[in-house]
Symmetry: C2
Subunit: 303 residues, 2 copies
């Protein structure tokens, strides 16, 4: 199960009406944050999920509207008594950016593990609960999109375990996908577990033009969060020039990618009311929703 919160839905510049685009995922107690512009930690404070359990921070690129809140957030996490490492993932240039932030940290009570994701290695980050993949996008600077895949445990089948005569003291380890040697015989998880089950996939794509690679990358997502910098089809030249997308283009990606739901975000400050353009997306992909600050969603495994 995943609980997520779109902490903001704005692009470019922080606004009174819209926080900057950022996504917080709570994956069975472990928190992943994607992007951290100015004001992100205030939006986090509003939802009250706490700061201590933020294990992983993913940055799409190093424009200020995606990273300026990071040094302040790291200090706030430090004040929350966290002592465990934090993983920070970003495109090439991550060490340089983090180096420039170091001037503001006297001492941190945890280590920052920097992972520069090229987008070639897949996944770029893996834990027992989930893995994170990255894709190179098409923006004015190095920029990557993220897909988070949350694993679902296989079902334990007592009958299968008994049929395979697996000693009871090994059941727990095998259930946790660990093989065990016992009395000279190797016991494997397959001897007690059922079929592999579909997990939960969330994809987050901003800032970019709608390149073809995105379709296979986000394919099958339960939730596809995608930039829609401009709602009006007439802004296509602006979108091309600034390397962003129209609502229509994001919806076309969603339609071609077999995703369940699309959330648009990263709205241009020049677009005062995004709702008047929603139909531009919905007529291509009906299950499109407009992101808004602190939009919440719970994603459950299929049954």
């Amino acid at each position: 199960m995943v609980n997520l919160c779109l902490l903001g839905c704005g692009g470019s510049v922080p606004q009174p009406e819209r926080n900057l685009t950022s996504l917080l995922l709570n994956i069975i107690g472990s928190k992943v944050l994607i992007d951290c512009g100015e004001g992100t930690q205030v939006s986090m404070k509003r939802i009250g999920w706490g700061f201590k359990d933020i294990d992983t921070i993913c940055l799409t690129h190093y424009h200020l509207d995606h990273i300026l809140g990071l040094p302040g957030l790291i200090l706030t996490i430090a004040n929350s008594n966290r002592r465990e490492d934090i993983n920070i993932i970003g495109p090439t240039g991550l060490s340089k950016v983090m180096d420039s932030f170091k001037i503001f940290f006297n001492y941190l009570p945890f280590r920052l593990n920097l992972i520069e994701a090229s987008g070639a290695k897949d996944p770029v980050f893996e834990t027992e609960k989930f893995n994170i993949s990255a894709l190179n996008l098409d923006h004015s600077v190095n920029c990557i999109g993220y897909s988070i895949y949350v694993n679902r445990m296989r079902k334990f089948e007592v009958e299968k375990a008994e049929k395979n005569m697996v000693p009871r003291e090994l059941w727990k380890d095998l259930q946790n996908e660990k093989s065990r040697l016992f009395d000279g015989k190797m016991y494997t998880p397959n001897m007690v577990l059922g079929e592999i089950r579909k997990g939960i996939k969330i994809s987050y794509i901003t800032d970019t033009r709608p390149i073809d690679d995105i379709q296979s990358f986000v394919n099958g997502s339960d939730l596809f969060i995608c930039e829609g910098m401009y709602g009006d089809d007439d802004d296509i030249n602006k979108a091309k020039e600034n390397k962003h997308m129209l609502f229509r283009e994001a919806a076309t990606l969603a339609k071609n990618s077999n995703v369940k739901e699309l959330w648009l975000t990263h709205f241009s400050p020049s677009m005062e009311d995004e709702s008047i353009y929603l139909d531009n997306a919905k007529k291509i992909f009906d299950n499109t929703k407009l992101g808004y600050d602190r939009a919440l969603k719970q994603l459950k495994y299929d049954d």
Copy 2:
């Protein structure tokens, strides 16, 4: 005349309920900003005074809650079509801090003039309209307080000009405090202008313990904006340890400095309701007010 806005009244960490402490002054069209934490540009946007005319930015010190909003603000000013230089004043270390921010600017359409104020030179910055003085404070890092003195033009006295037989074509220059040589004779402003008149003085002191030097520095201020990190007298040890002030201490400075009005600001996030402590200050200096986000004031010349 000066219009000013306290853009925030919080200290340490940005909060949903309080922006970080920062002051914006509009001095006859020229804007001066003091401190710029995360969220400052959003608070500025709310009051709608624009970004283009920010000529001078003063930083008290380099803790994140006073500077993290600066790179974003500078980019926003750049997008407002400003082409004139911006003066940035701060304690020793300014170049190093601004260097670390440079990674986020590809190109700025104006120059940043950096002025490292030691607090010894007085004033540290001067224009025709106003001058800015700095004072070394007592915080955990180099920190300075600011006083802004807005000049008042002297009164033009026609009778005096005529008595001194000043040619009419010189009147305008002399009124603007410029001497002129004419027909072999030197004409000075004193030949047409009245007495020097009191201007407007605004002082801004945060973060610091209440050192004696502050009293002479802020003496005679029309408005004294001072940190009050803690309202409760019982927090004196915390105040000493973290190099901050109690409400009572700020009020004592105000009382001993012949200021007209005191605004408290930079409230600790641990202090949920500052109003219950206001009397701790008012019983020492009655004209004390609690700062709040976007508190506005217009200061006029005496008379």
